[in-house]
Structure formats: structure tokens, C-alpha cells
């Protein structure tokens, strides 16, 4: 099968892979790099479980072919915490019971990251809009909203 050499930046580190042209970014992360924090919920861009940041913006990793990420920056849930220090969003999810089964959690957290960079006050409706593409079948939406809201307000204890 056709392979192509791709260089990109994964969680702050430059990488070069011989990618099968059929690989999606989700496949590459999970099956080749073993970064399984990014979940495969539908493989069709419908559920948001595989949300990662591509050049800082949330995207569904299942909808991106590896051949298209040349020279891009990819950020996954694994890079958010280091040496046991959690990202403020992760802390907020911990403090607000923001997960039940937890399968959607990495996707929600990655989708919420751009909200943390907005300087103006954000309403709960705006948070919902930003997270509307992520499904949680436990319907832990209330606690997820509380978590993201707390993180944005700086209420979580980092």
C-alpha cells in the first residue's frame, strides 16, 4: 500500500512517519503512537470523542488524513498534564465530577481548550455552543458545563 513520509509536531516533539495513505490522524495516534487517550467513538466525525488540537484548533482526528498534516502541530490529551500537574480544565473536571464513564472526557477537554484563551467573559450558552459537537452518552452534560465554567472562571484550584 502507498506510503508517504510526513513530518509534523506531536505534543511539542517533531516526528517523521512513513504513513500509509489510508491512515487517519486518529489511527496514527492510537495504533502507531499508542496515544490512546484520544478515543474512537464513531470514526465518522459525529461524536467528538477523538477531538485533538490541530495547530491549536479542535478537530475530529478521525476526519483528518495523515497525509494532510505535514508541518502541522498536533496536541493530544496526553500533553496537557506533566509531572503530575494537571491542566486547569482537568482539575475542574476532577472537582466538579465532570465524567461518568469517562470515554468522552478527553474529547470534551480538548474542545474546551480554546475557551480558556478568550479574554472576554463567557456565558454558559457560549460554552454549550463550543461543546455542541461532543457527545456524552452518560449525559453528564450538567457537570461538564460546571467543570468548564469553573475552569474558565479560574475557580478550580490549580
Amino acid at each position: 500500500m502507498a506510503a508517504i513520509k510526513i513530518t509534523f509536531n506531536l505534543n511539542g516533539r517533531d516526528r517523521c512517519v512513513e504513513a500509509d495513505t489510508r491512515w487517519t490522524l486518529l489511527y496514527l495516534l492510537r495504533e502507531e503512537f499508542g496515544l490512546t487517550g484520544t478515543k474512537r467513538g464513531c470514526d465518522m466525525g459525529e461524536c467528538g470523542a477523538c477531538t485533538v488540537l490541530l495547530d491549536g484548533l479542535p478537530i475530529n482526528a478521525c476526519q483528518v488524513l495523515v497525509v494532510s498534516i505535514s508541518e502541522c502541530r498536533v496536541t493530544t490529551i496526553e500533553s496537557l498534564s506533566s509531572n503530575g500537574n494537571l491542566h486547569p480544565l482537568q482539575v475542574a473536571f476532577l472537582e466538579n465530577d465532570g465524567a461518568q464513564c469517562g470515554f468522552c472526557t478527553p474529547g470534551f477537554i480538548m474542545s474546551a481548550i480554546p475557551l480558556m484563551e478568550i479574554d472576554t467573559p463567557i456565558t454558559r450558552d457560549q460554552i454549550s455552543d463550543a461543546l455542541g459537537g461532543n457527545l456524552c452518552r452518560c449525559n453528564a452534560y450538567g457537570a461538564i458545563l460546571d467543570s468548564v465554567h469553573a475552569a474558565i472562571d479560574g475557580k478550580s484550584h490549580v
Partner: protein, 760 residues
């Protein structure tokens, strides 16, 4: 497996009634929590399933020659080359007959998933296509082709449960109300598609599987594959939830056979479409419910008849059809009741367990008819329920269950009291919170005139709590730490946390100081599955008993060591203290006595009481009569779950359950095309589920009830929140616009059409 190491330095006691964080939450927010598809081996093969394009057919032959020649294909298994094992009474590992579009025909293992997928296209199958039934009406017709040997009506007769004599009951009635209802086949659609990874090492099979019952899976797998039980180990990693729908062994059996054939680990991970069609869905139903009443509102008779579509295979159908009757049989005090449940095979995806089983379907009919009855009598809906709800004394009638025998959690006979019954409290607390009886707040002047507001309510009973035999092992280890082991699974509902809270309170230690081992059949004691809202009650009791035994053993050893009587000693965290002031550290005690352990096995239940959970839901809706869209402006869920072990988790479980059933009420319907038998919406875009944008304001109230039997007074909670939403909302829509929608889901399209024809 789930192994949570204890933190002896923890400062959060987290005992019963407080809300410490879930013990596995840190792993979940960092992406470290491992689910079945996250586990892999270097030499692992990927499996894909060839599925039937026909709803009903005999397989005449499967030609795999070309597929086998494809480089990278390692094994193909067909119905013609596997042993005769069964993964369920009516399900072979692979069968030479297919019964729905999507039924398993063959399975391929290859180096990578792309090759496996390609190989499927090269397999040639010859079918003898049979006529099929896509509805229960078709399946029950005389000309229907039998889907299984014994015909399409399970047992060839309905399940009948009754008390008293309904004929007499209806004869006494001044008034009879009756209505018919349908409910959809919706999918639990867990975000994690089911996955099984099998590894055969020549003598032992290890299977990692999305599972809520590893010990049941182990038994089913060893029986299906003809392996001794000790040769099978099932490991349950974190579960991307299932809501009941992942009880199924075929996926794991196929991965296991491929691993045995190839001598390599094999992962079979379903696609989203496969999870919809080859997973489990809720039983669709048609229910007719009749209620006889005296003028003063007393109920003289209830007769409910439900026809339930179980799809291609039986799965948990018998339990579901029975639970669909519990509301009619037990929620209202009534001497004469009869429930008939027909369970019918069709050539559609298999129905199985889905949160609250048949209760949402049964209560939808019952609680809409109750409102109908109240209206016919000119009584307020709340008043009607205050007058007629079953009380702690239970139902009228004679006890049939022999004295000393444990009472079923869902009896039909009367004469047996409840252990506790908070229905009255739930009705009053919920009514007070929503402002029942006060005018619905006026329409916002700026809002469109097309908005009509209304309120609705319903109540429910649920037979959760006592499940199967439950075990727990607990130990004070040689390094002076505590270790708890149980065979149940935490499926995302939080049992790992709740069971830790129960054990820690008995042992006077922080809830996360205890090592917890779950999810591995080789190192946990046998347990029943995480089902029927039973874990907190049943495994909770086993854990509490085991912890109490361990505490007593520790105190006994301490009394020998200190030379003081046991009754003056108490366990206080990491030390034993005496009334005399003497102190003994646990580490000194262990050095002297060695490790100490205790095990408890309980058969949950009571010979004296029915143990059930209760609740009442209330809602305020806004119906836009120009679009048919319904907005939930306020929702109040009042529950009697006994003592609430972890209030924050419990509250989120209730809010989640209510929101999940907004799908059942408004959106979800897994539709089978009657011409082809194909499910036309097996994806998240077409089988729409609620998103965060749909999440309403849900107020959760717990009645102050302490059950005399449950651990620390707890009862069940996991499924009950799912029972109330549909009837509560349907009743509110009626209040708002005078239209009773009797077939779920209440889509804007359906409601708008009803509003238009109502006007005309």
C-alpha cells in the same frame, strides 16, 4: 481490570453521605484510563466481521478462497468450520441461518484493519433468502416464517401476572379509561463501540472485553468454546459505558476462536454502525392499558397488555417483558390487576437490556392513563396519585411466597409490605419544588405568542436493589494497607467509589486509602453483573459485611496483643485505641499477627419485605404551536433511593438519566425499513441523541428515607431516573396544548401534525 492503589496519606475521609471525587476520575481526565480498544500487543491481529445483507436467510455456502489468498489475512472463520457452541440459549457462535441485516456471517483476522476490511469484500456467500418480519404484527401472523424453531411468540404464550380478579374489578367500576401507546426501538449507543481482545497462549484464554459482568462472561465463554472454566480469564477494563446494552458474548467468542486459530492476540472492535445494529436496543412496545375507577377516585382494576419486539434473538427479553408490567401491577394500590406481556421475535436488531429495562415503556402507558383517569374524574393529577399510590403496607391481598423465603423484588401478590417507601415524600417534595397547583408563570411578553406552557408529573416504582449473590474480600495486608476485591464492574456509574466509601467508613480510614481490585476474574471473587441497579445494594452489603468481619478480626487480634477485652477497643484509622487509653498501631499489630482477611457472601433480599426504589418527576414545558418544538424550562426529579452514599455522583446520575431519556421522549427511534429489513439510521447523525445544547435545568431531590436492609440504608438509583421523563413530559404537553401523544418519540413533526389536526 481496575486497580486503584490506595493513598495512605489521604486526608479526605469520604465516608457515606459525603461526595469525594470518583476514585478513577484522575485517570479519566488525563486520558490514562484504559478501555478495551486501548489495549494492544505487538503481534496483535485485527478482526472484522462479514454481516448479513438479508434480514432472514439460510447460508448455503461461504467461499473464502480468494479472501484467504490476500496477503496479510491470517484466518477466516465461517459457520461451516467452527464448533457447535452457543453463546446464548438461542445464539450459536456462528449460525448457518441469519436473522437480521447485520447478523454475523464470517469473521476475518488480518495484519491490519484495512486488509481485514478488504478481505470481507472477497468472501462469497450464497444465501437461500427467506421471507421476513420487520414488525411484531407480521411476526405473529399465520403466514410468518418462524425465526427460531419454536415460533415467533416466545413460549407460545404471553407472560401473565395477576392479583385478584379484574373482571370483578371492572364490574365494580363507575368509570373505565383506556388508551394505547407505542414506544420506539432506540439504541443506548454507548460512545465506546464494543470491543473484545482475545489472547490464547496454548492452554489459557485471556479476553479483555467491554463488560459489565466479567464472571458471567467467563462462564458464557467457557461454555461456548468448550473450555474448562479455569482456562478462561476475563478482564474488564474501563467501560465506555453500555447502559445494559453490552451483555453479549458472540463478539468475544469470535475473537477467541481467531486467536486460537492464529496463535496471536486478536482484537475485534466494532464500528459505530455495527454497535447500533449488532449491539442491543430497547424493546419497542405496543401497550394497551385499562383502568377501572370509582367516582371517588379509588382504582378497582388495572389491565395492561404489552406486545414487545425482542428482535432476532431473545437476549434479556424475559426480564424486560416482566419489568414492563411492574408499574401496572404495583405502583397503585389496587386489588385486581392483570398484566399480559407478549415477547415476539422479529428480523430486526436484537433488543436487550437498556437502562430501566421495560419500566420506561410500562410507566409511559400507566402514567399517561393515570392522568387521563384523573382528568375524567375531575381530580388534580397530584391529588389522584396522593390518593392511590401504593404505601409502605404494600398491595392488598394474600401473600403467596412461603414465609422465610426471600421475597421477589417484583412480586405480583399482595400482603407483603415494603422495607421502605418514599413515594409520598417524593410527591410532596417534587410538587413543592415545581410549584404544583400555582399558576404556570406567565408568558414572557417578548416571547412569541405561539408558546404555550404546561406542567406535568408522573411517579414510578422500580425493582432495583437486591441482585444476585454477591461477594467481597477485604484484607489488612502485610504492609499494613487495606485491600478490597470485588468481582462486580464499575461501568462508569461509580461503584468503585461507592464501595470504597462503604468499606472505609466501617474501617475508619480515608475512602481512597484502600487498594481496590475489580475487573479480573482470576483475582476477584465471583459476582453477579452490574445490572438492575443492584451494585450499591448487593455488593455494598457484601463489602459492608466483609469490612465489619475484618474490623472484628483486627480488634480480636488487638485484644490478644494488648490483653484487654475486645469490647473496649475500637479501630481508628491506622491504630486501635482502648478505653483504657492504650494505643496499638496497625503496623505493630500486623507485624505481630500477620495479614488478616475476611470474606463475605450475601444473597441479597428479605423474607419479610419487598425492596424497591421510588420517585416522582415534575416538569414545566413550553410548546411552540407553530413549530411543534418543546422546550423543557424546568425539570424536578424527586427520588427515594434510601440513604445516598455519594450525593454529588448520585445527583449527576439522576440528571444524566433524565437527559438520556430526552432521547427516548423526543428524538431516538432506530428505524428498520419494512421493505428491506435494513436499519436506516445506524449513526449519530440520523439516530440523534441529546447534546449539551439540549440539556435542561434538572433539579434533583432525594427523599430522606433510610432503608432498614440496604447498606447504611441505601437502595438503588442507577436506572430509576430513566422511568419518569416520557410520561411526565407527555402529561405536560397535554396540559399545555390539550394533545396527548401516545407514540414516542414526540418529534416536532408529530406534535405539529397533531396540533394542526386538533385545531381542524
Amino acid at each position: 481490570m481496575l486497580r486503584l492503589m490506595g493513598n495512605p496519606m489521604s486526608e479526605n475521609l469520604g465516608w457515606v453521605g459525603t461526595s469525594p471525587p470518583r476514585r478513577d476520575l484522575r485517570d479519566k481526565v488525563t486520558g490514562r484510563a484504559e478501555y478495551a480498544a486501548d489495549i494492544s500487543f505487538d503481534d496483535m491481529l485485527y478482526a472484522k466481521v462479514l454481516r448479513s445483507p438479508h434480514p432472514h436467510a439460510r447460508i448455503l455456502s461461504v467461499d473464502t478462497l480468494e479472501a484467504c489468498m490476500l496477503p496479510g489475512v491470517k484466518a477466516i472463520v465461517t459457520p461451516f468450520d467452527i464448533p457447535d457452541g452457543r453463546v446464548a440459549p438461542d445464539v450459536s457462535i456462528l449460525d448457518q441461518k441469519v436473522r437480521f441485516v447485520g447478523d454475523e456471517v464470517a469473521v476475518v483476522a488480518a495484519d491490519n484493519p484495512f486488509t481485514a476490511e478488504l478481505a470481507l469484500k472477497l468472501i462469497k456467500v450464497s444465501y437461500d433468502v427467506l421471507s421476513f418480519s420487520s414488525t411484531t404484527d407480521e411476526a405473529l401472523s399465520d403466514s410468518a416464517e418462524p425465526i427460531h424453531e419454536d415460533g415467533n411468540l416466545i413460549n407460545n404464550e404471553p407472560l401473565v401476572e395477576q392479583r385478584g380478579n379484574i373482571k370483578e374489578g371492572f364490574a365494580e367500576a363507575d368509570l373505565i379509561v383506556e388508551e394505547s401507546f407505542t414506544t420506539p426501538a432506540h439504541s443506548p449507543a454507548p460512545l465506546e463501540p464494543r470491543t473484545a481482545l482475545a489472547k490464547w497462549d496454548g492452554s489459557k484464554l485471556t479476553v479483555w472485553k467491554s463488560s459489565r459482568g466479567i464472571h458471567a462472561d467467563k462462564t458464557a465463554l467457557s461454555q461456548a468454546l468448550g473450555l474448562p472454566a479455569e482456562s478462561v480469564r476475563v478482564i474488564g477494563p474501563h467501560m465506555g459505558a453500555g447502559y445494559g446494552g453490552k451483555d453479549e458474548t458472540r463478539t468475544a467468542a469470535l475473537a477467541s476462536i481467531l486467536s486460537m486459530r492464529t496463535q496471536a492476540p486478536v482484537r475485534l472492535e466494532l464500528s459505530r454502525e455495527e454497535e447500533f445494529v449488532a449491539g442491543r436496543r430497547r424493546h419497542s412496545t405496543q401497550t394497551t392499558l385499562r383502568m377501572g375507577l370509582k367516582k371517588d377516585g379509588e382504582i378497582t382494576a388495572i389491565h395492561a397488555k404489552t406486545v414487545m419486539d425482542t428482535g432476532a434473538y431473545l437476549s434479556s427479553g424475559p426480564g424486560v417483558v416482566r419489568r414492563a408490567g411492574q408499574g401496572a401491577l404495583y405502583l397503585y394500590r389496587c386489588p385486581n390487576v392483570r398484566y399480559e406481556g407478549y415477547l415476539v421475535y422479529t428480523n430486526t436488531p436484537t433488543a436487550g437490556s437498556y437502562r430501566a429495562l421495560g419500566a420506561p415503556q410500562g410507566h409511559y402507558a400507566l402514567e399517561c392513563v393515570a392522568d387521563l383517569a384523573a382528568e375524567s374524574l375531575g381530580i388534580d393529577s397530584l391529588e389522584f396519585r396522593r390518593k392511590n399510590h401504593v404505601t409502605i403496607e404494600g398491595q392488598p391481598g394474600e401473600r403467596i411466597t412461603p414465609v422465610n423465603q426471600i421475597v421477589d423484588t417484583q412480586p405480583s401478590e399482595g400482603g407483603i409490605p415494603f422495607s421502605s417507601n418514599g413515594l409520598s415524600e417524593c410527591l410532596e417534595l417534587g410538587a413543592d419544588r415545581i410549584g404544583w397547583g400555582q399558576p404556570v408563570e406567565g408568558i414572557d411578553k417578548s416571547a412569541s405568542r405561539s408558546i404555550k406552557r404546561g406542567r406535568g408529573m408522573s411517579m414510578f416504582i422500580y425493582r432495583g436493589g437486591p441482585g444476585g449473590k454477591s461477594h467481597a474480600s477485604i484484607a489488612l495486608t502485610k504492609d499494613s494497607s487495606y485491600s478490597l476485591s470485588t468481582g462486580v464492574m464499575d461501568v462508569g456509574e461509580g461503584s468503585a467509589t461507592v464501595l470504597s466509601q462503604i468499606a472505609s467508613q466501617v474501617l475508619s480510614i480515608p475512602y481512597d486509602a484502600i487498594d481496590l481490585v475489580m475487573g479480573d476474574t482470576d483475582i476477584t471473587p465471583e459476582a453477579s453483573i452490574t445490572a438492575g441497579s443492584s451494585v450499591t445494594f448487593s455488593s455494598g452489603l457484601a463489602v459492608k459485611n466483609a469490612a465489619e468481619m475484618l474490623r472484628d478480626k483486627i480488634l480480636y487480634q488487638a485484644s490478644l496483643f494488648l490483653g484487654e477485652p475486645q469490647h473496649v477497643l475500637s479501630l481508628q484509622g491506622s491504630e486501635v485505641t482502648s478505653d483504657s487509653g492504650a494505643l496499638l498501631s496497625i503496623s505493630d499489630l500486623v507485624e505481630h499477627s500477620g495479614p488478616i482477611s475476611a470474606e463475605a457472601t450475601i444473597v441479597p433480599g428479605s423474607p419479610d419485605y419487598v425492596i424497591n426504589s421510588f420517585g416522582a418527576h415534575f416538569v414545566e414545558v413550553e410548546v411552540d404551536v407553530e413549530t411543534g418544538k418543546v422546550n423543557i424550562s424546568r425539570y424536578v426529579a424527586a427520588h427515594d433511593a434510601g440513604t445516598v452514599i455519594n450525593p454529588k455522583m448520585a445527583e449527576n446520575q439522576v440528571r444524566g438519566g433524565v437527559s438520556q431519556m430526552m432521547g427516548f421522549t423526543f428524538l431516538e427511534d432506530m428505524e428498520t425499513d419494512p421493505g428491506t429489513g435494513i436499519v436506516v439510521n445506524s449513526n449519530f447523525l440520523d439516530h440523534k441523541s441529546p447534546t449539551i445544547l439540549d440539556f435542561p435545568d434538572i433539579d434533583v431531590i432525594f427523599a430522606d428515607i433510610i432503608d432498614p436492609i440496604g447498606p447504611f440504608g441505601a437502595k438503588s438509583l442507577g436506572e430509576p431516573p430513566c422511568i419518569g421523563p416520557a410520561p411526565t413530559i407527555a402529561n405536560a404537553i397535554y396540559d399545555a396544548v390539550g394533545i396527548r401523544i401516545t407514540d414516542l418519540p414526540i418529534t416536532p413533526h408529530k406534535l405539529l401534525a397533531a396540533i394542526k389536526s386538533h385545531k381542524a
